[in-house]
């Protein structure tokens, strides 16, 4: 089956991003396709490459990147939520006149339409949030 995932909370602060990740991994292990993970609200913070968690802890962002690259998952950060919270890709940084960008590999910034599209195209859409 084809799964869409919505992550509404930031990494480390709340377990939602961890549960979503474990679910995606288990779904892939069972032969399903994770079509897209959409990051909304503080969930957009999953996609910053500037976070430096302690060495003995999981790196949530790197984990997403690796899972996505290995399984062809579309990691989409909501542009409206990202703008509020300072998550930028190169294009957005230029457009907004910011001096740098912080998006992690494998993530892209796009509109809320991508969430609705996932809802339309996927057999299941699961929400992980607070």
């Amino acid at each position: 089956m084809k799964y869409g995932i919505l992550v509404n909370e930031g990494p480390y602060q709340h377990q939602a991003a961890d549960t979503a990740y474990q679910f995606c991994k288990a779904a892939i292990d069972r032969g399903h396709e994770v079509f897209r993970v959409f990051f909304y609200h503080d969930g957009v913070n999953n996609g910053t490459r500037f976070a430096v968690p302690p060495q003995d802890d999981r790196n949530i962002t790197v984990r997403w990147t690796e899972l996505a690259q290995a399984n062809n998952i579309d990691l989409v950060i909501c542009i409206a939520a990202a703008q509020r919270r300072g998550i930028l890709d190169e294009g957005e940084a230029k457009r907004q006149g910011k001096d740098g960008n912080n998006i992690a590999p494998g993530f892209r910034i796009s509109g809320l339409g991508q969430l609705i599209e996932a809802g339309i195209q996927c057999d299941r859409l699961l929400v992980f949030g607070d």
């Binding site: 509404n8 609705i116 599209e117």
Partner: protein, 130 residues
């Protein structure tokens, strides 16, 4: 510019329900949920919004945010009709528990019992909860 989802053609129409259970301003969920619904309206899906528990306060008349320094986004609910989002369901029990009535709502809504709402939820294809 053509967006990928526009190539899908008229296709299937799914029932999307947006469940709101949190009061406005204390957290950003109410505002960002509203932003999703406004985008979703463009996809010509069957959209309904449900307000239960503290979510009923999102539609409370007379919101005045001047002294907290935040934007009062409640007038946006009045704009929903212009986006053809006309199915706004408010739970009777949630209103009653909070000493509120339909008169307290800032837009026309359909007040529905918990049991009827439960059945309505069961008829949906996609449920997004914020």
């Amino acid at each position: 510019m053509s967006e990928p989802w526009e190539d899908e053609g008229p296709g299937e129409v799914k029932k999307f329900m947006y469940v709101n259970r949190k009061a406005p301003y204390g957290t950003i969920y109410a505002l960002e949920s509203l932003e999703v619904v406004l985008i979703a309206a463009a996809f010509e899906q069957d959209v309904s919004m449900v307000f239960i528990d503290d979510g009923v306060y999102q539609l409370k008349k007379g919101q005045d945010t001047q002294q907290i320094g935040m934007k009062n986004f409640s007038p946006t609910y009045r704009a929903l009709e212009g986006y053809d989002v006309e199915k706004l369901y408010v739970e009777a029990e949630s209103l009653a528990e909070r000493g509120l009535t339909e008169e307290d709502m800032l837009v026309p809504v359909e007040v529905m019992s918990r049991d009827d709402l439960a059945r309505l939820m069961d008829e949906q294809d996609v449920i997004l909860s914020f």
